[in-house]
């Protein structure tokens, strides 16, 4: 597993520069536009009680960014390993196993989520959204969120013949979750059906936990239930990803 991780890091050493820009630039842009710009209007309405919109929004975005990294890294790079470059086939001709591939890649994704989340915590603290300590304390939640997305998406990608379905996943899965699971506004603003849907995806649970840490507000469910939901998604996803990779790569 660690050998797979090392291989990915050798590759990342060449490509990290490209990802740094999005890691730093995106949070700055989003926090400026939505947190500061839109937030100044929202705060006049005084709808979120004593919580400034910037802090509310930044907390949601911390989790949403982990989701995006988790889904992104579990989609196209996995398709490349299975189909485009077939590097997974090459790896499986060595003593490595399916589990090494799945959990080696998941570990690499964890590392990427860690880097992105720590960077985000620093930037958010510079914006004054919340203290650096609180932001860093929420990073483990971001990791859980990343895994809760990455492993099921790896399972899904492993079952696809063509990559067009991945574009659909982003358009009809990722974007609605990003918009409707509590990143931008509390989900109780939504109709009941959409609220129920929001509660059924990992992002909402991760955001509840992040806000409990960064804003010291109570969670909707007991904290362990939110953690349990994320862990369950990761475990089921890990199981399915192993099954899906095995079915695809070892015939």
């Amino acid at each position: 597993m660690l050998r797979v991780l090392e291989g990915e890091l050798v590759s990342y050493r060449r490509t990290w520069r490209g990802s740094v820009i999005s890691t730093f630039l995106n949070p700055v842009l989003f926090l400026s536009a939505m947190g500061l710009g839109l937030g100044s209007l929202v705060d006049r309405g005084d709808q979120l009680g004593p919580v400034p919109y910037l802090a509310f929004y930044a907390s949601g975005l911390l989790a949403a960014q982990a989701m995006q990294t988790g889904v992104g890294d579990a989609a196209y790079p996995v398709m490349a390993g299975i189909k485009w470059l077939k590097t997974y086939h090459a790896a499986l001709a060595t003593p490595l196993t399916i589990r090494d591939l799945v959990f080696g890649h998941a570990t690499f994704i964890l590392l990427r989520v860690t880097l992105a989340s720590v960077a985000f915590a620093i930037i958010a603290s510079l914006f004054g959204a919340f203290g650096l300590g609180a932001g860093l304390a929420a990073v483990p939640v971001a990791l859980l969120c990343g895994l809760a997305y990455a492993l099921p998406v790896m399972a899904y990608t492993g079952m696809l013949e063509r990559d067009t379905a991945l574009a659909g996943l982003f358009r009809f899965g990722l974007v609605p979750m990003f918009l409707l699971s509590g990143t931008f506004f509390p989900i109780d603003q939504l109709p009941a059906v959409l609220q129920a849907l929001a509660r059924a995806v990992p992002l909402w649970h991760a955001i509840e936990l992040v806000r409990a840490i960064t804003l010291a507000v109570p969670t909707t469910w007991p904290w362990w239930a939110h953690v349990g939901f994320l862990v369950a998604c990761g475990l089921v996803g890990g199981f399915l990803a192993t099954w899906s990779f095995r079915r695809r790569l070892i015939a």
Partner: protein
């Protein structure tokens, strides 16, 4: 490289498997996918130090067989032992000692040439220093010494192929499996690959390869099996197979579509055996000159006549009634 490897010598059926250690032993080996039988109960032995080939057209079951031997595809039925181990229970142990050159170059295009070798060596659990020490030798073997820092994307097809072969050697395997080693390469690149493979056999490495090129099989293989529709239809050295199934020399008589019946009547009884294709008759015999004389004496209205030596293509045609490359 291998410790108990003897020099390659001509194979004869009498001493097969007795004298030399068998690296692969397959009996009744079968592979089925969802009801489709890709490999149908085949038996073969591969001895240490030899170059063993699977010759057959696409879809004959060669790749499926190779993947089972490589311990990446489970055996459906029958028994298979590779390097004296059971692929079902000790796949990782087998893969640790094999080199695998797959049909497609599954290199990491994002990485440099040297990093491809490095990462692969680490997959085998080699120490970092050990891998780094080995890379220059492998680059030299692949004739890529000055390309180590280049990205894989910029390499030519032949270079990529040689890199895949070098990558398969990173763990100093005692046996290397090559699936269609030169398919898609131009003639010059093919000869370079063949040259590298011969170098490996000189070093005592056992090679197991699949090909649908008869010239490749004749050039490289000490011994081969001819596969068709998931089964083995013949086995022996290229020379034995040609002698047994095709004879020594061949006369190809091409005819125009309208002359077919007349030509075939005229050729009746010439040679030891005949195969009739859509545009030509292939006549087998020991002496082409005799065949030519016989044909011209009968006044056959042929479009053209060609004399050549019998090849594995003829063996395949005889055994299956079909050509190797359709």
């Amino acid at each position: 490289m291998g410790s108990e490897v003897r020099p390659v010598s001509a194979w004869s059926p009498a001493d097969a498997g007795d004298e030399r250690e068998s690296l692969v032993v397959a009996r009744g080996l079968t592979k089925r996918f969802d009801g489709f039988t890709a490999v149908n109960g085949i038996a073969f032995d591969v001895s240490a130090g030899e170059v063993f080939g699977f010759l057959g057209p696409n879809g004959a079951g060669k790749t499926s067989t190779m993947r089972m031997v490589a311990a990446v595809s489970p055996v459906t039925e029958g028994s298979l032992r590779v390097l004296d181990r059971d692929p079902a229970s000790d796949g990782a142990g087998i893969r640790a000692q094999l080199g695998v050159v797959p049909q497609e170059n599954n290199l990491d295009e994002e990485l440099s040439v040297a990093d491809n070798l490095y990462v692969y060596g680490r997959y085998f659990g080699m120490r970092r220093s050990q891998v780094r020490d080995r890379i220059p030798d492998l680059l030299e073997f692949a004739q890529l010494t000055d390309r180590g820092d280049d990205k894989v994307t910029v390499l030519s097809g032949g270079m990529k192929r040689r890199l895949v072969i070098a990558r398969a050697l990173i763990n100093t395997p005692s046996m290397v499996l090559l699936d269609e080693p030169t398919t898609g390469l131009d003639p010059q690149a093919r000869h370079l690959v063949w040259d590298r493979l011969r170098e490996l056999t000189r070093q005592g490495v056992t090679l197991l390869l699949t090909t649908h090129y008869m010239d490749e099989a004749e050039q490289l293989c000490d011994r081969l099996v001819v596969m068709s529709d998931g089964g083995i239809v013949a086995e022996g050295s290229p020379r034995q197979l040609i002698a047994e199934y095709a004879g020594r020399e061949v006369l190809e008589v091409r005819f125009l579509p309208g002359d077919r019946d007349a030509v075939l009547t005229g050729l009746d009884g010439v040679g030891s055996r005949q195969e009739v294709l859509s545009d030509r008759a292939i006549i087998y015999g020991e002496d082409a000159e005799q065949l030519t004389t016989a044909v011209s004496r009968r006044g056959v209205e042929a479009a053209s006549v060609l004399v050549r030596r019998a090849s594995l293509e003829d063996v395949f045609l005889r055994l299956t009634g079909r050509g190797l490359i359709e």
